[in-house]
């Protein structure tokens, strides 16, 4: 599904040649994989995720997504891929605070052109699936952290994506709610979705079928198939 060759990311920095956050990253991810990425803070995990999720452009190298070289895609095409194929989950949930839980989930569907009534119906169904029945009209400010993350997960899968990208999804949660979220991710992976997850927790990383350990912008080692 994903193949990266010699990916490189250089952040511009004043009065120097720039900071190289990713160096010679080669990576292959098959459909249905559950990939964990670990490594010390600042080693470039988030940077890699942003590139894989079309939020950012690599400075060098090639990125093939489902066989297509997407390095040269323009913003519109990349946005389309993001909305149709990818669901993001963040450490800080990133819900729109003034919107209700269901409105948050409807948003990606509306961008994708789904009818409003259908989107509404689907958002209720998704909230039920993540165990939040009855909280449809609560705004993000009226939900607990664990509940927020579950809304965010429902939003991530609203457009039936093929790839879930999660950047420390349990980072802001206690271990019990964190395990709940992990179980949900595992379930999604069981249903055939590809998952790429960054975590600091070695225990959680072990759920994955493949673990990548990064250091200083490089992949230090790969564990699993």
């Amino acid at each position: 599904m994903i193949k990266c060759e010699n990916l490189k990311k250089v952040y511009p920095v004043k009065k120097s040649k720039g900071y190289e956050a990713l160096t010679e990253v080669d990576l292959e991810i098959k459909a249905g994989d559950f990939l964990s990425i670990t490594g010390p803070s600042g080693c470039g995990k988030s940077t890699l995720l942003h590139i894989l999720g079309f939020l950012d452009n690599p400075s060098g190298g090639k990125y093939f997504f489902q066989g297509k070289n997407v390095t040269s895609f323009n913003d519109r095409k990349r946005s389309m891929l993001r909305r149709e194929k990818i669901g993001f989950i963040f450490q800080s949930f990133n819900l729109l605070p003034r919107f209700s839980a269901s409105a948050n989930i409807m948003l990606p569907m509306l961008y994708a052109g789904v009818e409003k009534s259908e989107a509404l119906e689907r958002s209720y169904k998704l909230l039920e699936d993540v165990g939040l029945k009855g909280k449809e009209n609560n705004s993000a400010l009226e939900l607990s952290g664990g509940e927020c993350q579950r809304v965010a997960m429902a939003r991530a899968i609203a457009n039936k994506p093929e790839l879930i990208i999660a950047d420390e999804p349990t980072g802001n949660l206690d271990s019990k709610t964190g395990k709940n979220v992990m179980a949900l991710l595992k379930k999604l992976n069981g249903e055939g979705l590809t998952v790429i997850m960054v975590t600091h927790d070695n225990e959680l990383a072990k759920i994955a079928s493949k673990i990548i350990v990064m250091k200083d912008g490089r992949i230090e080692k790969t564990v699993g198939r």
Partner: protein, 429 residues
Amino acid sequence: MKITELLKTGSLEIWHHKMRSFLSFFAISIGVISILYSLVLIYSMSFRTKKALEIAGPGKMTVQMPRSGGENTDPNAPKDVLTLDDSLAIRKEFQRLYMVSPSLKKYVRVTHGKFNAHQLVEGISTEWRRRGWIYTLKGRFLNQYDVDNFERVCVIIKTGGWIKKPKWIKLYSWKDRFQEYIKHNEVLGSTIQLGDNLYTIVGILEEPVLEKNPKTFLSMSGRWGGKIFVPITTAQRFLSGWSMNGDGIESISIDTGEEKKINSYKKKIEKFVQSRHSGKLKFEIKDYRELIKEQLTDKARDMYTVLIIGIIAILAGGIGIMNVTLATVYSRIKEIGIRRAIGATRMNIMSQFIVEATFLGFIGGIAGVFIGIIGIQYLASKGNTDMMMVQWWMPFLSILAAMLTGFFAAIYPAWSASKLDPVEALKYE
């Protein structure tokens, strides 16, 4: 993403920043009010011009003494004036003219029964009938016998009322006491005192109802003419009282019958009158277009002032909206990042802000039109005939202007929002 969804987010946002939104649509409203007002003025002006030409006929011109030409330097100096003979001579010389109608106005005391006040009395010849006749005649009109024999007879114009008085002029308080009097008293055939002498009222000229009267919305023709007419010879011999030009006559209205001939006739008549006064008479010939233009100049100045104020106000409103939208963009950087992450394109982000700002302009426009219409109705009720000419499409055009302002003001902020780097926007707190 449908526009209704964008509007929903937009109204949430506008509501969330009430004060900020209010200030910018306040400025927009003021702009819209002035634009609405100047639209009415522009429309009124072109309407009046068209109607005035229609009624008078484009072939019309007026020979008259200059209104002010330093005449008062020496009141005792012999003054050459336009005379009735000039009028008769023009008639004789240029047989093909459709109309040669002399006029002499005097401001005299008018007494009839209980009525007693000063009124304008106009001396005319029989050719006056050719000056845009819109009347129903009761009794008879002045005839050549009256003119030749200095008869003391007069005809009176009776103005028409409204069939159904439009609501907006219910409060119209100015009433013509003479008209009120003749409306409630049968005066045809009776005797009236004009100045020092008694006259017989031989005819009543009934104007059509105001809805059907082309002069209703026309301030330039007819309104300042007299409502009482006597033979011009009679006026010269018997009427004393204040008038514009002493012994002579005031003006000669001429109609060539068609527009094409107006310039050649103008030259010929000018030469002719000049030769009759051996070049010493100060007079001018104005064709009707010139007269109208002159009368409209003041109005045009008003109109442009208002229009400029309107444009400035709406620009200020636009800058206000731009400012608000910029502020909104800054306060929503995180939101922009989130929307980008879940698949919003740059265009989606841009249209979001543009729709919001256009909507803000729309609300401001509605408010402005609302206040503007109230103001216009008030002015109309006070007898401002310009304001009576407000058309249904004017509010719409004004609102459209406000929306366009919002639209264009938002382009830059919306563009900069769409240019934000998604990753940086997501990290923004």
